[in-house]
Symmetry: C2
Subunit: 132 residues, 2 copies
């Protein structure tokens, strides 16, 4: 059986994906893959997602330069969630989030409110203009 | 605005949730929450999910004893994914997965196949019978 057939794709043909930084173990972001995105990720050794908003393949870093080199691809017990161990390229310290922050998970719940607790490392306008 | 209203619930009223072990930084599991599950998680300081298969609240550990104490609740840049930092209770070394393994992400892709690379720490039959 093909390894791609063993993944339980949802009704939209997608699977949720968690990207974890190999060096720090920080959870960087969450995204989705379709079958072609997962196949390409394994083949190229870089993260390729499916953009639900744009309805197409999203080669992470194609605009920002913030490419993710993939060291491990893991699948969970139910075969319906993927975990990537990645090196986040393109900036030091690393930036995975489109807001210019290290991780997308920068909002912390405390006392009934969400607090943004991580700094913007680079102005998003600069990130996306430089390669435009 | 209520912090629960700031979460972008999907069409089913759910949000994806990543549980990361605070001590090891290992990604333990992936699950879903509805509004009540997230409210209870914050209130009780333990992980409460929404079981899609059973269609109801799932107090993690209610059968297995493998409760997750919650240290942090984080939300991502799009307000549609939650990350928990937890201590996985109930067994040493810790078991989060219903298969009796430490983490649900025990399948590793290599050379065109998925390989189960993490040991079963406790027989699942034993896990679920002891509290039945």
């Amino acid at each position: 059986m093909d390894w791609l057939d063993q993944v339980k794709w949802d009704a939209q043909g997608l699977v949720p994906v968690i990207a974890q930084e190999a060096e720090s173990s920080d959870v960087l972001m969450f995204a989705w893959m379709d079958r072609e995105a997962l196949r390409l990720t394994a083949e190229l050794g870089r993260a390729v997602y499916h953009s639900r908003s744009r309805g197409k393949l999203w080669f992470k870093g194609e605009e920002s330069g913030h490419v993710q080199t993939v060291h491990e691809i893991r699948l969970d017990c139910d075969n319906d969630v993927v975990l990537l161990k990645v090196t986040q390229q393109g900036h030091v310290p690393s930036i995975a989030c489109h807001t210019g922050r290290h991780s997308c998970f920068f909002r912390l719940y405390r006392d009934g409110q969400w607090h943004d607790i991580e700094p913007v490392l680079k102005d998003p306008d600069t990130i996306y203009k430089q390669n435009a």
